[in-house]
Symmetry: C2
Subunit: 418 residues, 2 copies
């Protein structure tokens, strides 16, 4: 065993400051009191957010919903009966395809997300402009029918390879696949075409995936890979008080190894950087079923905020599916620009922002989801004025476990989220 | 329920060909007979490969081994006692650091891997050339001591952030960290500095990770994330006959969803592209403990082979650690260039190789690990002569489940690996 391990030396000024911060942290119940209040608020919200239909907007809008395999089979068949009827009426072979262009998108403040307006395009077979697309649409409808019938899931790449001769390149099959989702009024994952997942989860959560009982409190340090097919996830149960959404896997690993969730009951989820569709759907599902708050831990830079915006607002080109992909009410816990001074992050751990960073920061300041929250505006202004950024790992300069033992407990205790 | 689902139409020529191939597949026992032979061979191998020491090479060589936290603490303290003794002798403050440069590397055919020769460099404190590096080395030794004492794991990035002022950029702390691993004669993961993992695993495997019992047969479709710290993995148990190493997550998902491992007892592992250190260590550990063959399923392109070479040979800059990172005896199951004709992969699923691809292919042809296996040389020659490549997903052109229901069973039945 180590012979030097027991030796003590007097603390320096920096170490004394860390110790003083650490002493502020009270017992677990007191740390969790603020979270508990937030949690009660979340539980009091209506069981589900309003749907587009319930809003009775003057303008007709379109959104997709999750449908099970049988419902999708019915939709595919219905769309082909419609086409057949049109042919029999002598009006020819043509699809009605909802437009997904920016001109057909609309921000709905009541829902706090973007939806599609109801404009549709014709896709007739007997037209040189649309002939190929009509054929591809038919083929994709056929493939989706096969997938739903066999109850199997594939990736977009697999779909492309079933008929390379027709699709020519993957962009074409991907694009028509999104069209088909809109046409059938269901999410892309309902079509049994899924994204490959990058995310991992640990903490106070159990669920069944394809029948297997998964206990995320017993998943070691590596965690459970996020399920690629959320329709195979059932029986979600948890005694967590909040979901901790973490940008990076290094921070995830620290919290998983320290079993942070044992002391502070939570579910820890990361997409390891830019969030993929599977992780976004999974987060949304957890939030809806458990109705507990989501607290985010991201880098104090424009990219960290961009990641939050993807979770909260989604991306433009999948706006028709925003209700299933977005979790609007995420709280920004840290690392926030104001934390750098508050926690005395050393100068050398603060990185200068590039011109590109500053531009991105300024663009974010103009976005609706930031402007809707004055506290976010203040933080972003600190960032673009001070022109410095910092990673979550900057907290390691106070010791490897500062994140799990000091920073996060103090943040929770003080209810310091915005 | 679907109304069109039951309708039948006559098969076309392509479908008849697929059906004919499918009919070749016999019962599970017959499919597995060849694998069983390979498995017996693997079990008959000596319990562990020869070590460098047992070879009694004329030239002194150096390799690192996995050590537990207490052993690393002892090594750190011993290295500092050595330095202290040197100071007391009036010979000054200096470290002996093994050289990791190409000139100090050597291929050992008996081990089939690269190791370090025994050249060392001096790193004196009282020299303007090495002063900074000597200080950084001391700091890293101190940090490693702390990690092993606290029994916690961090990433290289965390390590860098503990003293940004000193390290200046992460390359410097990363580089010295590798030096320290060589100095102490242990792997980098023994220093409790780990890589973030990307890999996932499913199949006939149970193990404990940090005490948690993990059953990879009950991990849904998403699978279990590969543990980042292999030293927390214990009690590895399996009734699998082989490990199926898969390049891409799309193929992994197909096999996981089809529960391929239920019919053909195996462990399915993927690093989702370029293999990370954690997945390589995990594969090596599985292979050593279970002593079952490893069959690889990669794209039929030079990049797929590059990935195999990383699993088998490792990378040059971590050659001191090759014994813990490499799994030399991987069998190339598919997709092989000769499969394209054998399985009648349609022309449009065969992609033209770029000039860069062809160059990479030709470079691989000259590498020792390829030349050691004439069957591999023949396959690579087919690739660079035909100038076409194909992805695993090209098999989807015969149907989404062709991979799991036809291609792999037939390959296994025929013992068609090289």
């Amino acid at each position: 065993m180590s012979k030097l391990a027991g030796k003590k030396r007097p603390l320096d000024a920096g170490e004394k400051a860390i110790l003083a911060t650490k002493k502020k942290i009270k017992g677990t119940d007191e740390v969790l009191a603020q979270v508990d209040k937030l949690c009660s608020l979340a539980k009091k919200e209506p069981a589900r957010a309003k749907t587009l239909a319930e809003l009775h907007l003057p303008q007709a809008c379109r959104e997709v919903i999750e449908k099970d395999a049988d419902a999708v089979l019915d939709e595919v068949e219905a769309s082909l009966y419609t086409v057949a009827a049109s042919i029999l009426r002598g009006e020819g072979f043509s699809y009605d395809v909802p437009l997904r262009t920016k001109g057909n998108q609309m921000y709905v403040p009541e829902l706090d997300r973007i939806v599609l307006k109801d404009a549709c395009g014709q896709r007739p077979f007997a037209n040189t402009q649309t002939n190929r697309k009509a054929v591809i649409t038919t083929r994709v409808l056929g493939l989706v029918h096969e997938l739903c019938r066999k109850r199997i899931h594939v990736t977009k790449r697999d779909l492309f390879y079933t008929d390379v001769k027709l699709f020519q390149d993957q962009l074409q099959s991907d694009n028509v696949l999104e069209d088909v989702a809109c046409m059938l009024g269901c999410t892309r994952s309902s079509l049994h075409v899924v994204a490959s997942e990058k995310g991992v989860v640990v903490g106070r959560l159990t669920f069944r995936e394809d029948g297997d009982l998964i206990n995320c409190q017993r998943m070691g340090v590596g965690g459970k890979a996020v399920p690629p097919n959320v329709d195979k996830v059932t029986e979600i149960r948890s005694d967590a008080m909040f979901i901790l959404l973490v940008e990076k896997d290094a921070a995830f690993m620290r919290l998983a190894e320290d079993r942070f969730y044992n002391t502070y009951p939570c579910i820890i989820l990361t997409a390891k950087g830019q969030p993929d569709v599977a992780t976004r759907i999974f987060l949304k599902r957890l939030r809806d079923v458990l109705r507990i708050p989501v607290l985010a831990l991201v880098d104090a830079d424009p990219y960290g905020l961009k990641i939050l915006s993807v979770y909260m607002k989604g991306s433009m080109n999948m706006s028709y599916d925003s209700s299933n992909l977005t979790t609007p009410d995420i709280k920004w816990l840290g690392v926030r620009p104001s934390d750098l001074d508050r926690f005395n992050i050393p100068e050398q751990c603060r990185l200068p922002m590039t011109d590109e960073d500053i531009k991105t920061g300024k663009r974010l300041l103009e976005e609706e989801f930031v402007q809707a929250n004055p506290a976010w505006v203040r933080e972003l202004e600190i960032m673009v004025t001070s022109k410095v950024k910092a990673e979550i790992q900057a907290l390691s300069s106070f010791g490897f476990q500062y994140l799990s033992q000091v920073y996060l407990p103090l943040k929770l205790q003080e209810g310091d989220w915005i």
